[in-house]
Symmetry: C2
Protein backbone atom coordinates (compact mmCIF):
# COMPACT_ATOMS: atom_id res chain seq x y z
CA UNK A 1 0.00 0.00 0.00
CA UNK A 2 1.24 3.47 -0.82
CA UNK A 3 2.23 5.76 1.97
CA UNK A 4 -0.05 8.69 2.76
CA UNK A 5 1.16 12.13 1.90
CA UNK A 6 -0.90 15.30 1.89
CA UNK A 7 -1.97 16.49 -1.57
CA UNK A 8 0.19 19.48 -2.58
CA UNK A 9 -2.86 21.65 -3.29
CA UNK A 10 -4.15 21.15 0.26
CA UNK A 11 -0.67 21.76 1.64
CA UNK A 12 -0.47 24.98 -0.34
CA UNK A 13 -3.95 26.28 0.56
CA UNK A 14 -3.89 25.45 4.27
CA UNK A 15 -2.01 25.72 7.54
CA UNK A 16 -1.32 22.42 9.30
CA UNK A 17 -2.98 22.19 12.69
CA UNK A 18 -1.68 18.69 13.36
CA UNK A 19 -2.86 15.11 13.62
CA UNK A 20 -6.01 13.67 15.12
CA UNK A 21 -6.23 9.89 15.55
CA UNK A 22 -7.01 9.29 11.89
CA UNK A 23 -6.91 12.62 10.11
CA UNK A 24 -4.59 15.49 9.45
CA UNK A 25 -6.37 18.66 10.53
CA UNK A 26 -5.82 21.75 8.38
CA UNK A 27 -6.97 25.36 8.64
CA UNK A 28 -7.83 26.80 5.22
CA UNK A 29 -6.06 30.11 4.68
CA UNK A 30 -9.22 32.16 4.28
CA UNK A 31 -9.75 34.49 7.22
CA UNK A 32 -13.39 35.16 6.28
CA UNK A 33 -14.58 31.75 7.51
CA UNK A 34 -13.36 29.45 10.28
CA UNK A 35 -12.74 26.49 7.95
CA UNK A 36 -11.13 23.23 9.01
CA UNK A 37 -10.37 20.38 6.62
CA UNK A 38 -9.85 16.82 7.85
CA UNK A 39 -7.80 14.49 5.66
CA UNK A 40 -7.75 10.82 6.69
CA UNK A 41 -4.16 9.58 6.57
CA UNK A 42 -4.94 6.80 4.12
CA UNK A 43 -3.37 6.66 0.68
CA UNK A 44 -5.37 6.43 -2.51
CA UNK A 45 -8.84 7.13 -1.08
CA UNK A 46 -11.22 9.52 -2.86
CA UNK A 47 -14.61 8.70 -1.33
CA UNK A 48 -15.80 8.16 2.23
CA UNK A 49 -17.31 4.80 1.26
CA UNK A 50 -13.86 3.59 0.18
CA UNK A 51 -12.61 3.81 3.76
CA UNK A 52 -12.65 0.65 5.88
CA UNK A 53 -15.58 0.61 8.30
CA UNK A 54 -13.46 1.49 11.34
CA UNK A 55 -11.94 4.45 9.49
CA UNK A 56 -15.35 5.69 8.33
CA UNK A 57 -16.51 5.77 11.89
CA UNK A 58 -13.27 7.31 13.10
CA UNK A 59 -13.63 10.08 10.54
CA UNK A 60 -17.24 10.67 11.59
CA UNK A 61 -16.27 11.01 15.22
CA UNK A 62 -13.42 13.39 14.40
CA UNK A 63 -15.78 15.37 12.17
CA UNK A 64 -18.41 15.70 14.91
CA UNK A 65 -15.80 16.68 17.49
CA UNK A 66 -14.38 19.29 15.14
CA UNK A 67 -17.70 20.70 13.98
CA UNK A 68 -19.24 20.93 17.43
CA UNK A 69 -16.17 22.62 18.85
CA UNK A 70 -15.99 25.11 15.98
CA UNK A 71 -19.66 26.05 16.30
CA UNK A 72 -19.15 26.86 19.96
CA UNK A 73 -15.74 28.52 19.69
CA UNK A 74 -16.62 30.73 16.74
CA UNK A 75 -20.29 31.41 17.53
CA UNK A 76 -21.45 29.77 14.30
CA UNK A 77 -24.99 29.99 13.04
CA UNK A 78 -24.70 26.95 10.77
CA UNK A 79 -22.06 24.34 10.08
CA UNK A 80 -21.39 23.21 6.52
CA UNK A 81 -19.80 19.76 6.24
CA UNK A 82 -18.84 18.45 2.82
CA UNK A 83 -16.73 15.96 0.93
CA UNK A 84 -16.54 17.33 -2.62
CA UNK A 85 -13.13 16.67 -4.17
CA UNK A 86 -13.96 17.73 -7.70
CA UNK A 87 -10.62 19.52 -7.95
CA UNK A 88 -8.44 17.75 -5.37
CA UNK A 89 -8.83 13.98 -5.64
CA UNK A 90 -7.56 13.14 -2.13
CA UNK A 91 -10.44 12.54 0.29
CA UNK A 92 -10.88 15.59 2.50
CA UNK A 93 -13.81 16.77 4.59
CA UNK A 94 -14.63 20.47 4.88
CA UNK A 95 -16.04 22.03 8.07
CA UNK A 96 -17.05 25.64 7.52
CA UNK A 97 -18.62 27.96 10.06
CA UNK A 98 -21.32 30.00 8.39
CA UNK A 99 -22.97 33.21 9.52
CA UNK A 100 -25.70 35.28 7.94
CA UNK A 101 -23.22 38.14 7.57
CA UNK A 102 -20.56 36.09 5.76
CA UNK A 103 -19.76 36.97 2.13
CA UNK A 104 -21.32 33.91 0.52
CA UNK A 105 -24.40 33.43 2.73
CA UNK A 106 -26.68 31.59 2.03
CA UNK A 107 -24.87 30.16 -0.99
CA UNK A 108 -21.98 27.70 -0.90
CA UNK A 109 -18.50 28.96 -0.04
CA UNK A 110 -16.82 26.83 -2.71
CA UNK A 111 -16.18 28.78 -5.86
CA UNK A 112 -17.70 31.97 -4.45
CA UNK A 113 -14.73 34.30 -4.37
CA UNK A 114 -10.99 34.38 -3.79
CA UNK A 115 -9.72 33.58 -0.30
CA UNK A 116 -8.57 36.38 1.95
CA UNK A 117 -5.41 35.10 3.66
CA UNK A 118 -5.06 35.47 7.41
CA UNK A 119 -3.13 38.30 8.97
CA UNK A 120 -0.53 36.75 11.27
CA UNK A 121 -2.12 37.69 14.58
CA UNK A 122 -5.56 36.28 13.72
CA UNK A 123 -3.93 33.18 12.28
CA UNK A 124 -1.96 32.57 15.46
CA UNK A 125 -5.10 33.03 17.55
CA UNK A 126 -7.28 30.68 15.48
CA UNK A 127 -4.56 28.02 15.35
CA UNK A 128 -4.19 28.18 19.12
CA UNK A 129 -7.95 27.97 19.75
CA UNK A 130 -8.32 25.04 17.40
CA UNK A 131 -5.32 23.11 18.69
CA UNK A 132 -6.49 23.59 22.27
CA UNK A 133 -10.08 22.65 21.48
CA UNK A 134 -9.18 19.60 19.40
CA UNK A 135 -6.42 18.51 21.83
CA UNK A 136 -3.72 18.67 19.16
CA UNK A 137 -0.22 18.69 20.63
CA UNK A 138 2.26 21.04 19.02
CA UNK B 1 -40.07 14.98 21.88
CA UNK B 2 -41.64 16.39 18.74
CA UNK B 3 -42.63 14.04 15.99
CA UNK B 4 -40.56 14.04 12.80
CA UNK B 5 -42.09 15.48 9.68
CA UNK B 6 -40.33 16.28 6.45
CA UNK B 7 -39.61 19.99 5.93
CA UNK B 8 -42.06 21.38 3.36
CA UNK B 9 -39.27 22.77 1.18
CA UNK B 10 -37.71 19.32 0.85
CA UNK B 11 -41.13 17.79 0.21
CA UNK B 12 -41.71 20.34 -2.52
CA UNK B 13 -38.31 20.02 -4.22
CA UNK B 14 -38.04 16.22 -4.15
CA UNK B 15 -39.71 12.92 -4.96
CA UNK B 16 -40.02 10.50 -2.05
CA UNK B 17 -38.10 7.29 -2.62
CA UNK B 18 -39.06 5.82 0.74
CA UNK B 19 -37.57 4.96 4.10
CA UNK B 20 -34.23 3.46 5.00
CA UNK B 21 -33.67 2.31 8.57
CA UNK B 22 -33.09 5.83 9.86
CA UNK B 23 -33.58 8.23 6.98
CA UNK B 24 -36.18 9.24 4.47
CA UNK B 25 -34.60 8.98 1.03
CA UNK B 26 -35.54 11.64 -1.51
CA UNK B 27 -34.68 12.20 -5.16
CA UNK B 28 -34.18 15.89 -5.92
CA UNK B 29 -36.24 16.94 -8.94
CA UNK B 30 -33.29 18.00 -11.08
CA UNK B 31 -32.76 15.64 -13.98
CA UNK B 32 -29.26 16.98 -14.68
CA UNK B 33 -27.71 15.20 -11.69
CA UNK B 34 -28.55 11.94 -9.92
CA UNK B 35 -29.08 13.57 -6.52
CA UNK B 36 -30.34 11.75 -3.44
CA UNK B 37 -31.03 13.46 -0.11
CA UNK B 38 -31.16 11.51 3.13
CA UNK B 39 -33.16 13.03 6.01
CA UNK B 40 -32.83 11.29 9.38
CA UNK B 41 -36.31 10.85 10.86
CA UNK B 42 -35.46 12.75 14.03
CA UNK B 43 -37.25 15.94 14.97
CA UNK B 44 -35.44 19.18 15.72
CA UNK B 45 -31.96 18.22 14.50
CA UNK B 46 -29.92 20.64 12.36
CA UNK B 47 -26.37 19.27 12.63
CA UNK B 48 -24.91 15.77 12.34
CA UNK B 49 -23.19 16.19 15.71
CA UNK B 50 -26.60 16.71 17.36
CA UNK B 51 -27.63 13.15 16.50
CA UNK B 52 -27.18 10.46 19.15
CA UNK B 53 -24.10 8.32 18.48
CA UNK B 54 -26.07 5.36 17.15
CA UNK B 55 -27.95 7.63 14.74
CA UNK B 56 -24.74 9.29 13.54
CA UNK B 57 -23.34 5.92 12.65
CA UNK B 58 -26.62 4.78 11.12
CA UNK B 59 -26.66 7.86 8.91
CA UNK B 60 -23.05 7.25 7.89
CA UNK B 61 -23.80 3.68 6.88
CA UNK B 62 -26.87 4.73 4.91
CA UNK B 63 -24.84 7.48 3.28
CA UNK B 64 -22.07 5.11 2.22
CA UNK B 65 -24.56 2.56 0.90
CA UNK B 66 -26.36 5.26 -1.06
CA UNK B 67 -23.26 6.93 -2.43
CA UNK B 68 -21.50 3.75 -3.46
CA UNK B 69 -24.60 2.44 -5.20
CA UNK B 70 -25.19 5.73 -7.03
CA UNK B 71 -21.58 5.91 -8.24
CA UNK B 72 -21.91 2.45 -9.75
CA UNK B 73 -25.46 2.74 -11.10
CA UNK B 74 -24.97 6.16 -12.72
CA UNK B 75 -21.32 5.83 -13.77
CA UNK B 76 -20.26 8.74 -11.60
CA UNK B 77 -16.83 10.31 -11.78
CA UNK B 78 -17.04 11.92 -8.33
CA UNK B 79 -19.49 11.85 -5.47
CA UNK B 80 -20.30 15.03 -3.59
CA UNK B 81 -21.62 14.49 -0.06
CA UNK B 82 -22.69 17.50 1.97
CA UNK B 83 -24.72 18.67 4.94
CA UNK B 84 -25.26 22.39 4.35
CA UNK B 85 -28.70 23.50 5.53
CA UNK B 86 -28.19 27.23 5.16
CA UNK B 87 -31.67 27.55 3.68
CA UNK B 88 -33.52 24.50 5.05
CA UNK B 89 -32.84 24.03 8.75
CA UNK B 90 -33.81 20.33 8.93
CA UNK B 91 -30.72 18.09 8.83
CA UNK B 92 -30.40 16.58 5.36
CA UNK B 93 -27.44 15.01 3.60
CA UNK B 94 -26.91 15.54 -0.13
CA UNK B 95 -25.42 12.85 -2.39
CA UNK B 96 -24.76 14.18 -5.88
CA UNK B 97 -23.21 12.29 -8.77
CA UNK B 98 -20.80 14.55 -10.60
CA UNK B 99 -19.34 14.22 -14.08
CA UNK B 100 -16.91 16.41 -15.96
CA UNK B 101 -19.64 17.14 -18.51
CA UNK B 102 -22.24 18.27 -15.96
CA UNK B 103 -23.35 21.94 -16.03
CA UNK B 104 -21.66 23.03 -12.80
CA UNK B 105 -18.41 21.02 -13.00
CA UNK B 106 -16.03 21.53 -11.21
CA UNK B 107 -17.92 24.04 -9.09
CA UNK B 108 -20.58 23.24 -6.51
CA UNK B 109 -24.09 22.35 -7.67
CA UNK B 110 -25.76 24.39 -4.94
CA UNK B 111 -26.78 27.80 -6.16
CA UNK B 112 -25.43 27.19 -9.67
CA UNK B 113 -28.58 27.33 -11.76
CA UNK B 114 -32.25 26.46 -11.69
CA UNK B 115 -33.22 22.81 -11.53
CA UNK B 116 -34.44 21.07 -14.67
CA UNK B 117 -37.36 18.88 -13.56
CA UNK B 118 -37.48 15.26 -14.66
CA UNK B 119 -39.53 14.14 -17.62
CA UNK B 120 -41.84 11.38 -16.40
CA UNK B 121 -40.11 8.44 -18.09
CA UNK B 122 -36.63 9.30 -16.79
CA UNK B 123 -38.08 9.96 -13.34
CA UNK B 124 -39.78 6.56 -13.26
CA UNK B 125 -36.56 4.85 -14.35
CA UNK B 126 -34.35 6.59 -11.78
CA UNK B 127 -36.83 5.98 -8.98
CA UNK B 128 -36.96 2.28 -9.88
CA UNK B 129 -33.16 1.93 -10.07
CA UNK B 130 -32.72 3.69 -6.72
CA UNK B 131 -35.46 1.80 -4.91
CA UNK B 132 -34.09 -1.51 -6.20
CA UNK B 133 -30.49 -0.63 -5.35
CA UNK B 134 -31.27 0.72 -1.90
CA UNK B 135 -33.76 -2.09 -1.14
CA UNK B 136 -36.64 0.31 -0.58
CA UNK B 137 -40.01 -1.41 -0.65
CA UNK B 138 -42.78 0.43 -2.46
Amino acid sequence: MDKFSLHPQLASDCHLLGNLGLSQALLLDDSRYPWVILVPRRAGVREIFQLAAADRHGLLEESCLTGEFMMQAFAGEKLNVAALGNLVPQLHLHHVIRRKDDPAWPGPVWGHSAAVPYPQQLLDERMRILRDGLSIAT
